[in-house]
Symmetry: C2
Subunit: 131 residues, 2 copies
DNA sequence: CCAATAGTTGAACAGTCGTTCAACTATTCA
DNA sequence: TGAATAGTTGAACGACTGTTCAACTATTGG
């Protein structure tokens, strides 16, 4: 049917022909879902900003309020608060209110594990460059 | 000296006073260097885009050329090539030339380890939402 | 009660980033 | 040799993101 041909033309955004069809098919079967990969990307995105990493490393050592973190990082309370909101929404940090002061801390040990593993990778990379 | 006072005013970008000076001092001592944290953020940034993740997951399964990856992901060769350049520069993938065709593959097992750990985190998060 | 202050919020701005397009190189094979 | 094709490149565009500013809420202590 001409429908099929039309469909193929519409979907082709690659301006090239497949070279190893079997490989493509096999790989397609083993790939995680689109949604899962988007979720994974979003998870890594949380750790991909140095301000957020600084906040997380600070909270690994102590429960801290917004002012403390602001002074520690030399940034405005607003900026810190915005990032804490992101980390809170992603369940990486939790908080506790005490009067006017809000104390933030790590939600669990995932953060520590993930940062340690990323750090190991970075340090190993550096070794390769200057052994 | 008025110099000192002026310095303090200049440096203060936090519009707030420290609440727990001891905590801030202690945390500051344990924090990794600024440069290290920037490097760590850049490392996580590589895994924070779903296209790059797709490419990396594909290469976990098989050595592939640019055309194969383009067809697999339904993207232009150009787009794939740009991302492969990023991954190549970061030593996450390597390549081998065979005539007109360039075969890409994972540089080492770091990628597998990091993705698996990120994925474990994502899957665990999902469990918490719907156990 | 009210001034002071911890923290939040949303809009605005600037910088970053991924994709596309068009032009290019390089290799093959007919 | 020259047409075809794998892959790269840089500019342009739009979307996204982190910071700042200003205005706001809420809590406290005099």
């Amino acid at each position: 049917m001409s429908d099929l041909k039309f469909y193929d033309v519409e979907m082709d955004r690659t301006d090239c022909t497949v070279i190893h069809q079997e490989t493509v098919d096999r790989v397609r079967d083993t790939m995680p879902d689109e949604d899962t990969l988007l979720e994974l990307a979003d998870a890594f995105k949380l750790f991909s900003d140095s301000t957020r990493l600084k906040i997380l490393y600070a909270l690994m050592e102590a429960e801290m309020c917004v002012c403390d973190i602001s002074v520690l990082l030399g940034m405005t309370k607003s900026s810190v608060s915005h990032q804490l909101r992101v980390l809170k929404q992603s369940n990486l940090v939790k908080y506790r209110k005490a009067g006017r002061v809000i104390y933030y801390s790590l939600a669990d040990d995932h953060v520590r594990t993930i940062c340690q593993m990323g750090m190991a990778h970075v340090l190993e990379e550096d070794e390769e460059i200057a052994p």
